[in-house]
Amino acid sequence: MSKLYSGAEIVFKCMEDQNVDHIFGYPGGAVLPIYDELQNFKSIKHVLVRHEQGAGHAAEGYARSSGKPGVILVTSGPGATNVVTALTDAYMDSIPLVCISGQVPTHLIGTDAFQECDTTGITRPCTKHNWLVKDINDLASTIHKAFEVATTGRPGPVLVDIPKDIQFQKTKYNRPKKEKKLNGKSHNHFNQNSIDELIELMSKSSKPIFYTGGGVINSGPKASELLRELVYATGFPITSTLQGLGSFPGDDNQFLGMLGMHGTYEANNAMHDCDLMINIGARFDDRITGKIDEFSPKSKKVHIDIDPSSINKNVKVDLAIVGDVKTVLSSTLKSLKQKKSKFLKSNKQKTSKWWEKIQKWRSVRSLDYIGSEETIKPQYAIERLYELTKDKDSYITTEVGQHQMWAAQHYKFNKPNRWMTSGGLGTMGYGLPAAVGVQVAHPKKLVIDIAGEASVLMTIQEMSTAVQYNLPIKIFILNNQYMGMVRQWQELLHDKNYSESYTAALPDFVKLAEAYNCVGIRAKTPEELDDKIIEMLNTDRPVIFDCMVDKVENCFPMIPSGKPHNQMILGPKDQESKKITGKGKSLV
């Protein structure tokens, strides 16, 4: 007779078979049997966070930077509810997470027992799928299926809720068998005709643009390689969403920068005026499209996405190719080479006028700002950080707000999986725990959280986690004492009524760093900034860097509310030189 394992052991047996090496978690009454077994499974390292939301974001950072699913272990009730924000965040940004939660024993479910909550009910709308395991014999197959659901198709979070009595019960353990496809939900639904049609559209176009998103990253590093190959083979311009940054080199001449609400002038105008838009792994999010009725009115639109429900959700497209980006790109390249081997040459002339136009938009230099010798401009801080770290293979996470947009605009990414940011949900407090997770996955690499002082305070407790595990993350705070993006909207949209957006009693971040037993560094002037950044980079311990920046700087360019792409507001430098301050104001 084969050996019997407890439910708690089975949880770890499954993780071993799924090649899990790190889990992020926090113990509690309803998961204690699982924590009991932790010591018997040496290949699995547990990272103890300080709040379950931190476990969730750390798992997200781990997943996004490594391509593997992030695993979370939390207790019932508050443990589960605390992780909901991170699950929702992962759902919006398509990050594969497997969350194991403890539950009160089955006979107490529904009695309002201590630390009971309807975990599967609460997490149903923010997971791809979830399970309450009520029979020990279902446990192993459920956990294996959970990993499969999280990582296949459009990735996302899943949750397995395990009552405490199930964790104690014993049964046999079966290794996962190769599962057949989920209810026939396979992921490639395109045929050669669509690829041919795409190539036909590409060869006819004189004003083309690639618009790429997080789907390229999720499809794996190979997809980014293929994307580069395709972009170089066509000579087309390319822009990227916030989540897609890094799939194409940020310093390449064909790259127009990020698009959308705070995207570059050239990217947004090219999106508006193009005659062919090829969307690869992006979802026509409302931060991208601006006013939907006037979105890119003259273009043929192609949408390549693994999720059929993304097609025609926000924007109607002319050609939909449902499939994995990697597979679609490789088919496209193959056909392109076969049918139009001289595509680049024949296309150069056709798109030359288009490139001239793009150069004109570029010459506006929409990311420029007015420098200062007295105060550190936040954009300048990011520029310096980039210049001083670009030779290292660094990983950047962010919180949410102005600093996030400045980071996306001014930090250039050349590789996929190097940029971790909360895009869809916009979760303040994401960056610090995400940096913890990234550093766990890449212990030798430089990991920087570009933060705002308001966001970082939401999950600052995870510094303690970083210190415990010797994770030398760098928290680079652009400290303007305001919730900067809130303040900016209040200035531009709410008659400068700065309601509750100023934090009057901030901690001393240098002292706070010392209290956490890590290193605090403060920079107050542009003059000392470089030296301080170098000091930070030379410190092999966690650092909180308090970068005191201009308090009232705004993030430009910007598409104002309800406006299409070609009606951007540019920065103050441009407004001064063109005297359009009045008009710019009326636009918002």
Binding site: G121, V149, P308
Partner: protein, 182 residues
Amino acid sequence: MPNSKSAYSFSNKKEKFDTHIIVVWVDNEAGVLARVVGLFSGRGYNIESLAVAQVDEKLKISRITIVTTGTPQVVNQIKLQLRKLVPVHKVADFKREDKAVIFKEMALFKIVGPNNKLEGALKACKKYNPVLLDKTKKSNVIQITALRREIDKMSKDLKKFGLVSVSRTGAVAMTRGADIFK
């Protein structure tokens, strides 16, 4: 249109709403109805009526029939979102006008009153396959099967005969002829 002070844009487009019948085959497991219904409420779709029961005991498959309204784009989203749910096997969708499909709802009417009224009520239901399920000196329970609007009409018309209670199901659907839903 409100003058937006937020960074969300408003659309001026007005599109026609159609009534659709969506049929969903799902694993009959705990929480599956909540998943389907939650998808509708969470994404702001309408449910006009809902009928659900297990149809295959061995495979444990339930069939859910949902009557909904929406623009073509919304109805398409409903189908695509439903197909993404793990316990969903297949999804079919029909316009209410579709001649190739039969739609039926059932209603129970309780009539209380003197004999002539009870008989009047039964007679009024004649077109809709009335079945007298229960009869006392003072009351009748009549079952009819009909279309939604016909039942709506009967619920009004029977008032004068002493209708005191109405109970009705959601619509169920089946294709005409030898074809089955694919």
